[in-house]
């Protein structure tokens, strides 16, 4: 699932159950929209950096692991079940054929799984989706990170007893599950999402044979393009359904640069107060609406999830502060008058977040990791692919700011990345090697 949804600051929250918004003159609405457009473009650079940093971190983790831990570049002869055809064949033609078949199988698996996901989402089988995501993040956080730790210890010859290892992996895994699926500090959640993307990318790098990997990258960017932009594309249906229902897309699949778990803070009429946001203590109501999400019951959390605000606590609060007098109507009114917000500049910036799917992280890191693993130990190739992917991401975000709807984040970056990888590996590397040999500096 790879997409880069629009920064949501331009979506004025629609009333969830048909209540009319308070009357405003049309001019006020228009000038606010113009202002919003300027602010979008003004803050565009900041969003790009908010995505550059995690993408760079993920790539750095993957490249560092590939260069130091030899496990991920060894060919153990094992393959994924999705890529059954071997690549160490006698002829090049056979190898090409095998890799094409592998890529076809892998892509069909991805297409089928995406369709299943979209169908489940459309027919509101949220429990199944949640269970599936829960199981996959369980696998990543416990099993794959255990293997990773094991290989790192092997590489650096660190003696470790099973008990300490069990405690470490258990804590890492449980905190990760809590952060990703429930609530946690934003930075910690982002860190965990980066780590699981890196782990997944490392798995792909190890188990996908070379030509298959490049083919899959190329084909999946084409698929991403079609799936997000075609009217009947599964990802487009997913995003549109989510927007219609005013729900966020599953937090376990998306990296967001702002608070995502606020979705659980639905206004269910109990006057829930959002938890501390960067230790700020502003009026609770105002910050919730940045994502225009919480205006209906939060679908991904069970109705009885009160977020820790047990009736006891609520009673205690009411006892101390007097009964809260906000209702759905008053909250909506305040939400729709942005000028009524306290002018807190950096929270304002933080609210206008941008999201990137974890699949994008995984495939970017896979490209750069494969470049550093396969390119005859050359760092120039890695560096060139890295810069190409960042520029692709920059262009994608520019298009996002112009078109203001969900866009595929893979095609441009992967295209640039592949072009630069092959060009640098075959053309620039011999050139720079010769120059370095003679110590010529251009």
């Amino acid at each position: 699932v790879t997409e880069a949804p629009v920064p949501t600051q331009n979506q004025h929250p629609e009333p969830g159950n048909g209540q009319a918004p308070p009357q405003r003159t049309p001019q006020v609405v228009e000038s606010e929209e113009d202002e919003d457009e300027e602010l979008t473009l003004k803050y565009g650079a900041k969003h790009v950096i908010m995505l550059f940093v995690p993408v760079t971190l993920c790539m750095v983790v993957v490249v560092a692991t590939i260069k130091s831990v030899s496990f991920y570049t060894q060919n153990d002869g094992q393959r994924l079940i999705y890529t059954p055809f071997p690549e160490d064949t006698d002829t090049i033609g056979q190898r090409a054929l095998n890799s094409v078949l592998n890529a076809t199988i892998m892509i069909s698996v991805i297409i089928v799984m995406t369709m299943v996901l979209v169908l489940l989402y459309k027919y509101r089988c949220y429990r199944v989706i949640q269970g599936w995501l829960f199981l996959s993040s369980l696998l990543l956080l416990f099993f794959f990170s255990f293997i990773y730790l094991k290989e790192v210890f092997k590489t650096y010859n660190v003696a470790m007893d099973w008990i300490t290892l069990a405690v470490i992996v258990w804590n890492f895994g449980v905190v990760g599950m809590i952060c990703i699926h429930w609530k946690g500090p934003l930075r910690l959640q982002q860190a965990y999402l980066i780590m699981i993307s890196a782990l997944m990318a490392l798995v792909f790098i190890k188990y996908l044979p070379e030509w298959t990997a490049w083919l899959i990258l190329a084909v999946i960017s084409v698929y991403d393009l079609l799936a997000v932009l075609c009217p009947k594309g599964p990802l487009r249906i997913l995003v549109e359904t989510a927007q219609e229902r005013n729900e966020p897309i599953f937090p376990a699949l998306i990296y967001s640069s702002t608070m995502v778990w606020l979705v659980n803070m639905a206004d269910t009429g109990l006057g829930h107060r959002p938890m501390t946001r960067k230790n700020s203590t502003e009026a609770p109501i105002t910050q919730v609406e940045s994502q225009s999400l919480a205006l209906g019951p939060a679908p991904l959390s069970p109705p009885e999830d009160d977020g820790g605000f047990t009736p006891n606590w609520m009673g205690h609060q009411e006892h101390q502060l007097g009964p809260l007098q906000s209702t759905d109507e008053t909250r909506r009114e305040i939400q729709q008058l942005p000028s009524a917000r306290p002018p807190v500049m950096d929270d304002d910036d933080e609210e206008r977040g941008v999201k990137l799917g974890l699949g994008d992280f995984i495939f970017y890191s896979m490209l750069v990791g494969k470049a550093s693993a396969a390119a005859s130990g050359d760092w120039n190739t890695t560096l060139a692919s890295f810069v190409a992917i960042l520029i692709g991401l920059c262009l994608t975000l520019l298009l996002l700011a112009i078109f203001k709807k969900a866009l595929p984040a893979l095609p441009i970056s992967i295209f640039f990345g592949l072009v630069f990888y092959f060009a640098t590996d075959n053309l620039v590397r011999p050139f720079m090697d010769q120059l370095a040999l003679h110590q010529f500096y251009i």
Partner: protein, 254 residues
């Protein structure tokens, strides 16, 4: 080769560029984007020139070493020219983008002045050029080996690091001077920058006669530094104010 060599050469080659990045560029997202785009432009120019070189080598006899060396020199000269062309292209792109940003921004005027963009673009070119020259060498210096085993120079790593530093700084200064020249429509500046770049490349042809290559290159770097300083609005007055730690007249009078 030791870790000391690795760290020493890494800090020599990349220290100033890295500190410039941290202190002047990292805080502003727009500058970071322009830096990376500048690196990208340099990369594209290198790609095209290595394509030309590659075709030339494949079309000729690979055994003839003098021919190959001459082809290398020809390829490098072509690369230098192409780098300057791409610098000009980047200037045009930034001017267009700046006008667009100025039109829709709420403040008066563009968010970045041409001088800032010139500095950042030059640094982008310099960092990428330095990285491509030095990173493989640095990575090799961590592994086993003997420097100068076949009669080559013993000072390979340190001279590489020094040349990389000089090139990085030179690209930055060239960026400043180049953009300023384009702004003021002084086209001779472009020709001078191109000639100086070619001169620096030719000096590097003298390697491993390091006295003949590194010293003149550093002299040129200092001259370019002075030129860039005056071209971007500096003056002796500023320097004296800096050294005597006095506030400028405007501030003291208000």
């Amino acid at each position: 080769m030791t870790a000391a060599v690795f760290f020493g050469c890494a800090f020599i080659a990349f220290g100033p560029a890295f500190s410039l990045f941290i202190f002047t560029i990292a805080k502003d997202p727009l500058r970071v984007i322009i830096l990376i785009a500048g690196a990208f432009f340099w990369l594209v120019s290198l790609l095209l020139s290595s394509l030309v070189w590659f075709i030339a080598t494949k079309a000729t006899n690979a055994q003839d070493l003098t021919l190959q060396k001459n082809l290398l020199i020809f390829g490098s000269i072509f690369s230098v020219i192409l780098q300057e062309v791409f610098r000009f292209g980047y200037y045009r792109l930034l001017r267009k983008a700046n006008e667009g940003l100025a039109a829709i921004s709420e403040e008066d005027g563009p968010p970045l002045s041409v001088r800032e963009m010139a500095y950042v673009a030059g640094l982008g070119f310099g960092i990428m050029s330095g990285a491509f020259s030095m990173i493989n060498t640095l990575s090799d210096s961590l592994g086993p080996g003997t420097v100068g085993m076949f009669g080559d120079s013993q000072y390979y790593f340190i001279t590489s690091a020094l040349m990389t530093l000089a090139l990085t700084m030179l690209h930055t200064f060239w960026g400043v001077v180049f953009f300023e020249g384009c702004e003021r429509k002084r086209w001779w500046v472009i020709a001078v920058v191109l000639c100086v770049h070619l001169m620096v490349f030719s000096l590097s042809l003298l390697n491993p006669f390091y006295v003949g290559s590194i010293l003149p290159v550093y002299a040129i770097m200092l001259l370019m530094a002075v030129w860039a300083f005056f071209s971007s609005g500096g003056s002796l007055h500023n320097i004296t104010l800096l050294w005597t730690c006095r506030k400028s007249n405007a501030e003291t009078s208000s």
